[in-house]
Amino acid sequence: MAALGSPLQTLRGLLRELRHVSGRAYRDTAAYRHVLAAFRAHRVTSEKLCRAQQELHFQAATYLCLLRSVRQHQALHREYHGRGERSPEEVAGLVGFMLPRQPGGKG
Protein backbone atom coordinates (compact mmCIF):
# COMPACT_ATOMS: atom_id res chain seq x y z
CA MET A 1 0.00 0.00 0.00
CA ALA A 2 2.97 2.29 0.44
CA ALA A 3 3.39 2.11 -3.31
CA LEU A 4 0.36 4.36 -3.81
CA GLY A 5 2.15 7.68 -3.59
CA SER A 6 0.63 10.84 -2.24
CA PRO A 7 -3.06 11.70 -2.75
CA LEU A 8 -2.05 14.97 -4.35
CA GLN A 9 -0.12 13.19 -7.09
CA THR A 10 -3.08 10.90 -7.74
CA LEU A 11 -5.46 13.82 -7.90
CA ARG A 12 -3.25 15.73 -10.30
CA GLY A 13 -2.84 12.67 -12.50
CA LEU A 14 -6.61 12.13 -12.54
CA LEU A 15 -7.29 15.72 -13.53
CA ARG A 16 -4.72 15.47 -16.30
CA GLU A 17 -6.34 12.30 -17.64
CA LEU A 18 -9.79 13.89 -17.50
CA ARG A 19 -8.41 16.82 -19.49
CA HIS A 20 -7.13 14.38 -22.11
CA VAL A 21 -10.57 12.84 -22.30
CA SER A 22 -12.74 15.93 -22.49
CA GLY A 23 -10.52 18.68 -23.86
CA ARG A 24 -11.28 22.31 -23.00
CA ALA A 25 -14.57 21.70 -21.23
CA TYR A 26 -13.21 19.22 -18.71
CA ARG A 27 -14.20 21.34 -15.74
CA ASP A 28 -17.88 21.02 -16.61
CA THR A 29 -17.92 17.24 -16.73
CA ALA A 30 -19.61 15.17 -14.05
CA ALA A 31 -16.44 13.14 -13.55
CA TYR A 32 -14.38 16.22 -12.67
CA ARG A 33 -16.94 17.43 -10.16
CA HIS A 34 -17.31 14.00 -8.61
CA VAL A 35 -13.56 13.47 -8.22
CA LEU A 36 -13.02 16.86 -6.62
CA ALA A 37 -15.99 16.47 -4.30
CA ALA A 38 -14.81 13.02 -3.20
CA PHE A 39 -11.29 14.23 -2.48
CA ARG A 40 -12.56 17.24 -0.56
CA ALA A 41 -15.05 15.22 1.49
CA HIS A 42 -12.46 12.77 2.74
CA ARG A 43 -9.73 15.26 3.44
CA VAL A 44 -10.81 16.49 6.84
CA THR A 45 -10.77 13.83 9.47
CA SER A 46 -9.69 13.64 13.06
CA GLU A 47 -8.11 10.21 12.71
CA LYS A 48 -4.51 9.83 11.69
CA LEU A 49 -5.02 6.59 9.80
CA CYS A 50 -8.37 6.92 8.15
CA ARG A 51 -9.55 3.77 6.45
CA ALA A 52 -12.09 5.53 4.28
CA GLN A 53 -9.39 7.89 3.08
CA GLN A 54 -7.16 4.99 2.10
CA GLU A 55 -10.05 3.26 0.37
CA LEU A 56 -10.82 6.37 -1.62
CA HIS A 57 -7.17 6.91 -2.49
CA PHE A 58 -6.90 3.32 -3.72
CA GLN A 59 -10.03 3.73 -5.83
CA ALA A 60 -8.72 6.99 -7.26
CA ALA A 61 -5.37 5.39 -8.08
CA THR A 62 -7.16 2.48 -9.75
CA TYR A 63 -9.28 4.81 -11.85
CA LEU A 64 -6.18 6.79 -12.79
CA CYS A 65 -4.47 3.56 -13.86
CA LEU A 66 -7.53 2.68 -15.96
CA LEU A 67 -7.70 6.02 -17.76
CA ARG A 68 -3.97 6.17 -18.33
CA SER A 69 -3.60 2.65 -19.66
CA VAL A 70 -6.63 2.98 -21.96
CA ARG A 71 -5.11 6.14 -23.44
CA GLN A 72 -1.69 4.53 -23.85
CA HIS A 73 -3.23 1.42 -25.37
CA GLN A 74 -5.15 3.49 -27.90
CA ALA A 75 -2.01 5.45 -28.80
CA LEU A 76 -0.04 2.23 -29.32
CA HIS A 77 -2.86 0.77 -31.38
CA ARG A 78 -3.01 3.82 -33.60
CA GLU A 79 0.71 3.84 -34.12
CA TYR A 80 1.39 0.17 -34.74
CA HIS A 81 -1.82 -1.68 -35.50
CA GLY A 82 -4.22 0.81 -36.96
CA ARG A 83 -3.35 0.99 -40.59
CA GLY A 84 -4.83 -2.08 -42.25
CA GLU A 85 -3.46 -3.49 -45.46
CA ARG A 86 -1.99 -1.74 -48.43
CA SER A 87 -4.05 -1.59 -51.62
CA PRO A 88 -2.81 -3.50 -54.71
CA GLU A 89 -1.68 -0.25 -56.31
CA GLU A 90 0.52 0.62 -53.33
CA VAL A 91 2.03 -2.83 -53.26
CA ALA A 92 2.84 -2.65 -56.96
CA GLY A 93 4.34 0.79 -56.44
CA LEU A 94 6.62 -0.56 -53.71
CA VAL A 95 8.51 -2.68 -56.23
CA GLY A 96 8.32 -0.12 -58.97
CA PHE A 97 5.47 -1.54 -61.05
CA MET A 98 2.12 -0.14 -62.10
CA LEU A 99 -1.01 -2.22 -62.38
CA PRO A 100 -2.16 -2.62 -65.99
CA ARG A 101 -5.19 -0.70 -67.14
CA GLN A 102 -7.76 -2.98 -68.69
CA PRO A 103 -10.61 -0.94 -70.12
CA GLY A 104 -12.69 -4.00 -70.92
CA GLY A 105 -12.54 -5.36 -67.39
CA LYS A 106 -10.45 -8.21 -66.05
CA GLY A 107 -10.15 -11.40 -68.05
Binding site: T29, A38, E55, C65, L76, Y80
Partner: protein, 280 residues
Protein backbone atom coordinates in the same frame (compact mmCIF):
# COMPACT_ATOMS: atom_id res chain seq x y z
CA UNK B 1 -32.60 -17.58 -57.15
CA UNK B 2 -34.45 -17.24 -60.43
CA UNK B 3 -37.33 -15.59 -58.66
CA UNK B 4 -35.07 -12.80 -57.53
CA UNK B 5 -33.80 -12.35 -61.09
CA UNK B 6 -37.38 -12.23 -62.35
CA UNK B 7 -38.35 -9.60 -59.81
CA UNK B 8 -35.26 -7.63 -60.66
CA UNK B 9 -36.12 -7.75 -64.30
CA UNK B 10 -39.64 -6.56 -63.57
CA UNK B 11 -38.10 -3.68 -61.74
CA UNK B 12 -39.50 -4.61 -58.31
CA UNK B 13 -36.23 -5.25 -56.51
CA UNK B 14 -33.31 -2.86 -56.73
CA UNK B 15 -30.14 -4.38 -58.14
CA UNK B 16 -27.84 -5.54 -55.41
CA UNK B 17 -25.07 -3.06 -54.83
CA UNK B 18 -21.71 -3.69 -53.29
CA UNK B 19 -22.32 -2.76 -49.68
CA UNK B 20 -20.01 -0.49 -47.83
CA UNK B 21 -16.70 -1.58 -49.23
CA UNK B 22 -14.75 1.03 -51.14
CA UNK B 23 -13.94 0.20 -54.75
CA UNK B 24 -10.43 0.76 -56.03
CA UNK B 25 -9.68 1.92 -59.55
CA UNK B 26 -10.42 -0.78 -62.10
CA UNK B 27 -13.35 -2.10 -60.08
CA UNK B 28 -11.33 -4.32 -57.71
CA UNK B 29 -12.13 -4.16 -54.04
CA UNK B 30 -9.60 -2.34 -51.87
CA UNK B 31 -9.27 -3.79 -48.42
CA UNK B 32 -10.65 -1.68 -45.62
CA UNK B 33 -11.49 -2.75 -42.09
CA UNK B 34 -15.24 -3.13 -41.41
CA UNK B 35 -16.99 0.19 -40.88
CA UNK B 36 -17.09 1.21 -37.23
CA UNK B 37 -20.00 2.86 -35.58
CA UNK B 38 -19.62 6.58 -35.63
CA UNK B 39 -20.27 8.65 -32.57
CA UNK B 40 -23.91 9.53 -32.94
CA UNK B 41 -24.45 11.59 -29.83
CA UNK B 42 -23.17 14.92 -28.54
CA UNK B 43 -23.79 14.87 -24.83
CA UNK B 44 -23.58 12.12 -22.26
CA UNK B 45 -25.33 12.55 -18.94
CA UNK B 46 -26.58 10.42 -16.13
CA UNK B 47 -29.98 10.38 -14.47
CA UNK B 48 -31.51 8.48 -11.61
CA UNK B 49 -34.31 6.01 -12.28
CA UNK B 50 -36.11 3.46 -10.08
CA UNK B 51 -33.55 0.68 -10.48
CA UNK B 52 -30.51 2.92 -10.13
CA UNK B 53 -28.58 5.30 -12.34
CA UNK B 54 -29.02 5.41 -16.11
CA UNK B 55 -26.90 6.83 -18.91
CA UNK B 56 -28.39 9.20 -21.47
CA UNK B 57 -26.77 9.67 -24.87
CA UNK B 58 -28.31 12.97 -25.98
CA UNK B 59 -31.91 12.16 -25.12
CA UNK B 60 -31.81 8.39 -25.68
CA UNK B 61 -31.32 5.99 -22.82
CA UNK B 62 -28.44 3.55 -23.11
CA UNK B 63 -29.41 -0.11 -23.42
CA UNK B 64 -27.47 -3.35 -23.01
CA UNK B 65 -26.79 -5.67 -25.99
CA UNK B 66 -29.86 -7.68 -24.95
CA UNK B 67 -31.95 -4.49 -25.07
CA UNK B 68 -32.41 -4.18 -21.31
CA UNK B 69 -32.26 -0.74 -19.78
CA UNK B 70 -28.73 0.05 -18.61
CA UNK B 71 -28.97 0.64 -14.85
CA UNK B 72 -26.14 0.66 -12.37
CA UNK B 73 -26.47 0.76 -8.58
CA UNK B 74 -23.66 3.23 -7.90
CA UNK B 75 -23.41 6.86 -8.97
CA UNK B 76 -19.62 6.82 -9.22
CA UNK B 77 -19.84 3.82 -11.56
CA UNK B 78 -22.43 5.61 -13.71
CA UNK B 79 -20.18 8.67 -13.96
CA UNK B 80 -17.22 6.50 -14.96
CA UNK B 81 -19.28 4.76 -17.66
CA UNK B 82 -20.51 8.14 -18.91
CA UNK B 83 -16.90 9.33 -19.11
CA UNK B 84 -16.05 6.25 -21.18
CA UNK B 85 -18.81 7.06 -23.66
CA UNK B 86 -17.82 10.70 -23.67
CA UNK B 87 -14.19 9.87 -24.45
CA UNK B 88 -15.08 8.26 -27.78
CA UNK B 89 -14.08 10.58 -30.59
CA UNK B 90 -15.40 10.08 -34.15
CA UNK B 91 -15.84 6.31 -33.91
CA UNK B 92 -16.94 4.18 -31.01
CA UNK B 93 -14.27 1.73 -29.95
CA UNK B 94 -15.99 -0.83 -27.79
CA UNK B 95 -12.75 -2.56 -26.93
CA UNK B 96 -11.65 0.45 -24.89
CA UNK B 97 -14.85 0.63 -22.85
CA UNK B 98 -14.10 -1.93 -20.20
CA UNK B 99 -16.47 -0.68 -17.51
CA UNK B 100 -19.36 -0.60 -19.97
CA UNK B 101 -18.60 -4.17 -21.00
CA UNK B 102 -18.52 -5.29 -17.38
CA UNK B 103 -21.85 -3.62 -16.63
CA UNK B 104 -23.39 -5.20 -19.71
CA UNK B 105 -22.15 -8.62 -18.61
CA UNK B 106 -23.52 -8.12 -15.11
CA UNK B 107 -26.92 -6.95 -16.42
CA UNK B 108 -27.36 -9.51 -19.19
CA UNK B 109 -25.48 -12.47 -17.71
CA UNK B 110 -25.04 -14.00 -21.19
CA UNK B 111 -23.42 -17.19 -19.86
CA UNK B 112 -26.39 -17.53 -17.51
CA UNK B 113 -24.38 -18.54 -14.50
CA UNK B 114 -25.78 -18.25 -11.02
CA UNK B 115 -23.80 -17.21 -7.94
CA UNK B 116 -22.67 -20.72 -7.03
CA UNK B 117 -21.35 -21.42 -10.53
CA UNK B 118 -19.47 -18.13 -10.62
CA UNK B 119 -17.81 -18.79 -7.26
CA UNK B 120 -16.93 -22.31 -8.34
CA UNK B 121 -15.30 -21.01 -11.55
CA UNK B 122 -13.35 -18.43 -9.54
CA UNK B 123 -12.05 -20.83 -6.90
CA UNK B 124 -11.21 -23.42 -9.55
CA UNK B 125 -8.52 -21.01 -10.72
CA UNK B 126 -6.63 -21.58 -7.48
CA UNK B 127 -5.49 -24.97 -8.76
CA UNK B 128 -3.78 -23.29 -11.70
CA UNK B 129 -2.80 -20.11 -9.95
CA UNK B 130 0.19 -18.39 -11.54
CA UNK B 131 1.82 -17.67 -8.20
CA UNK B 132 1.85 -21.34 -7.33
CA UNK B 133 3.61 -22.54 -10.45
CA UNK B 134 7.36 -22.15 -10.07
CA UNK B 135 10.15 -22.91 -12.49
CA UNK B 136 13.39 -24.63 -11.62
CA UNK B 137 15.55 -23.06 -14.27
CA UNK B 138 16.79 -20.46 -15.19
CA UNK B 139 17.97 -19.96 -11.63
CA UNK B 140 17.65 -16.18 -11.82
CA UNK B 141 13.95 -16.49 -12.71
CA UNK B 142 13.35 -19.06 -9.96
CA UNK B 143 15.00 -16.69 -7.50
CA UNK B 144 12.92 -13.76 -8.75
CA UNK B 145 9.72 -15.76 -8.41
CA UNK B 146 10.63 -16.71 -4.86
CA UNK B 147 11.48 -13.12 -3.97
CA UNK B 148 8.38 -11.53 -5.50
CA UNK B 149 5.69 -14.15 -5.21
CA UNK B 150 6.39 -15.69 -1.81
CA UNK B 151 5.42 -12.56 0.19
CA UNK B 152 2.06 -12.36 -1.58
CA UNK B 153 1.32 -16.05 -1.04
CA UNK B 154 2.32 -15.66 2.62
CA UNK B 155 0.04 -12.64 2.95
CA UNK B 156 -2.90 -14.58 1.47
CA UNK B 157 -2.24 -17.54 3.71
CA UNK B 158 -2.15 -15.31 6.77
CA UNK B 159 -5.13 -13.18 5.87
CA UNK B 160 -7.46 -16.06 5.04
CA UNK B 161 -5.92 -18.55 7.45
CA UNK B 162 -5.38 -21.16 4.74
CA UNK B 163 -2.55 -23.28 3.38
CA UNK B 164 -1.68 -22.79 -0.27
CA UNK B 165 1.96 -23.54 -0.95
CA UNK B 166 3.68 -23.64 -4.31
CA UNK B 167 5.05 -26.34 -6.55
CA UNK B 168 7.54 -26.88 -9.37
CA UNK B 169 5.83 -29.95 -10.78
CA UNK B 170 3.55 -29.87 -13.78
CA UNK B 171 0.63 -31.06 -11.67
CA UNK B 172 0.68 -27.90 -9.62
CA UNK B 173 0.15 -27.37 -5.93
CA UNK B 174 -2.06 -29.57 -3.86
CA UNK B 175 -4.83 -27.30 -2.58
CA UNK B 176 -6.53 -28.77 0.48
CA UNK B 177 -10.33 -28.80 0.54
CA UNK B 178 -10.44 -26.54 3.59
CA UNK B 179 -8.64 -23.83 1.64
CA UNK B 180 -11.14 -24.13 -1.15
CA UNK B 181 -14.06 -23.96 1.28
CA UNK B 182 -12.64 -20.88 2.98
CA UNK B 183 -12.41 -19.05 -0.31
CA UNK B 184 -15.88 -20.20 -1.37
CA UNK B 185 -17.44 -18.89 1.81
CA UNK B 186 -15.45 -15.64 1.56
CA UNK B 187 -16.56 -15.02 -2.03
CA UNK B 188 -20.15 -15.80 -1.11
CA UNK B 189 -20.24 -12.57 0.86
CA UNK B 190 -20.05 -10.51 -2.36
CA UNK B 191 -23.12 -9.69 -4.42
CA UNK B 192 -23.68 -10.92 -7.96
CA UNK B 193 -22.27 -7.84 -9.70
CA UNK B 194 -19.10 -7.81 -7.62
CA UNK B 195 -18.65 -11.53 -8.32
CA UNK B 196 -18.77 -10.95 -12.08
CA UNK B 197 -16.02 -8.38 -11.60
CA UNK B 198 -13.94 -10.67 -9.39
CA UNK B 199 -14.20 -13.55 -11.86
CA UNK B 200 -13.17 -11.17 -14.66
CA UNK B 201 -10.06 -9.98 -12.80
CA UNK B 202 -9.08 -13.55 -11.96
CA UNK B 203 -9.39 -14.57 -15.61
CA UNK B 204 -7.32 -11.62 -16.79
CA UNK B 205 -4.53 -11.91 -14.21
CA UNK B 206 -4.61 -15.71 -14.26
CA UNK B 207 -4.33 -15.76 -10.48
CA UNK B 208 -6.83 -15.93 -7.63
CA UNK B 209 -4.27 -14.81 -5.06
CA UNK B 210 -3.34 -11.65 -6.96
CA UNK B 211 -7.00 -10.81 -7.46
CA UNK B 212 -7.71 -11.14 -3.75
CA UNK B 213 -4.70 -8.94 -3.10
CA UNK B 214 -6.26 -6.30 -5.35
CA UNK B 215 -9.76 -6.63 -3.87
CA UNK B 216 -8.36 -6.31 -0.36
CA UNK B 217 -6.28 -3.30 -1.44
CA UNK B 218 -3.07 -5.00 -0.46
CA UNK B 219 -1.31 -4.28 -3.77
CA UNK B 220 -1.85 -1.71 -6.51
CA UNK B 221 -3.02 -2.58 -10.01
CA UNK B 222 0.39 -1.86 -11.53
CA UNK B 223 2.08 -4.17 -9.04
CA UNK B 224 -0.48 -6.94 -9.55
CA UNK B 225 -0.02 -6.78 -13.32
CA UNK B 226 3.75 -6.80 -12.88
CA UNK B 227 3.56 -9.89 -10.68
CA UNK B 228 1.20 -11.59 -13.10
CA UNK B 229 3.63 -10.98 -15.96
CA UNK B 230 6.76 -11.71 -13.92
CA UNK B 231 8.27 -14.16 -16.36
CA UNK B 232 7.63 -11.84 -19.32
CA UNK B 233 9.22 -8.95 -17.46
CA UNK B 234 12.23 -11.12 -16.73
CA UNK B 235 12.58 -12.01 -20.40
CA UNK B 236 12.12 -8.35 -21.39
CA UNK B 237 14.95 -7.35 -19.09
CA UNK B 238 17.09 -10.09 -20.55
CA UNK B 239 16.31 -9.74 -24.25
CA UNK B 240 14.82 -6.30 -24.70
CA UNK B 241 11.41 -4.70 -24.97
CA UNK B 242 9.25 -4.79 -28.10
CA UNK B 243 6.95 -1.83 -27.84
CA UNK B 244 4.26 -2.91 -30.25
CA UNK B 245 3.82 -6.24 -28.47
CA UNK B 246 4.98 -5.96 -24.86
CA UNK B 247 3.79 -2.47 -24.05
CA UNK B 248 0.59 -3.08 -25.98
CA UNK B 249 -0.23 -6.17 -23.91
CA UNK B 250 0.89 -4.45 -20.71
CA UNK B 251 -1.42 -1.47 -21.24
CA UNK B 252 -4.32 -3.71 -22.16
CA UNK B 253 -3.86 -5.94 -19.11
CA UNK B 254 -3.52 -2.91 -16.84
CA UNK B 255 -6.70 -1.40 -18.26
CA UNK B 256 -8.68 -4.60 -17.81
CA UNK B 257 -7.40 -5.30 -14.29
CA UNK B 258 -8.01 -1.70 -13.22
CA UNK B 259 -11.52 -1.76 -14.68
CA UNK B 260 -12.36 -5.04 -12.96
CA UNK B 261 -11.04 -3.90 -9.59
CA UNK B 262 -12.80 -0.55 -9.76
CA UNK B 263 -16.00 -2.32 -10.78
CA UNK B 264 -15.81 -4.68 -7.78
CA UNK B 265 -15.14 -1.88 -5.32
CA UNK B 266 -17.88 0.37 -6.67
CA UNK B 267 -20.42 -2.46 -6.65
CA UNK B 268 -19.70 -3.68 -3.14
CA UNK B 269 -19.31 -0.46 -1.22
CA UNK B 270 -21.79 1.74 0.48
CA UNK B 271 -20.61 5.07 1.70
CA UNK B 272 -22.06 7.23 4.38
CA UNK B 273 -20.84 10.66 5.33
CA UNK B 274 -20.78 11.40 9.03
CA UNK B 275 -20.45 15.02 9.86
CA UNK B 276 -18.54 15.65 13.07
CA UNK B 277 -18.60 18.94 14.85
CA UNK B 278 -15.26 20.71 14.93
CA UNK B 279 -13.95 20.38 18.46
CA UNK B 280 -11.44 23.18 18.71
Amino acid sequence: MWRRRLLQALGRLPALAVRGRPLGPGGGRAYAPPAERKRFYQNVSISQGEGGFEINLDHRKLKTPQAKLFTVPSEALAIAVATEWDSQKDTIKFYTMHLTTLCNTALDNPTQRNKVQLIRAAVKFLETDTLCYRVEEPAALAELQKKEWDPIVAWAEKRYNVAIGSSTSIMGPNIPASTRDTFISHLASYNMWALQGIEYVITQLKSLILSMGLIDRHITVEKAVLLSRLEEEYQIQRWGNVEWAHDYDLCELRARAAAGTLFVHLCSESSTVKHKLLQD
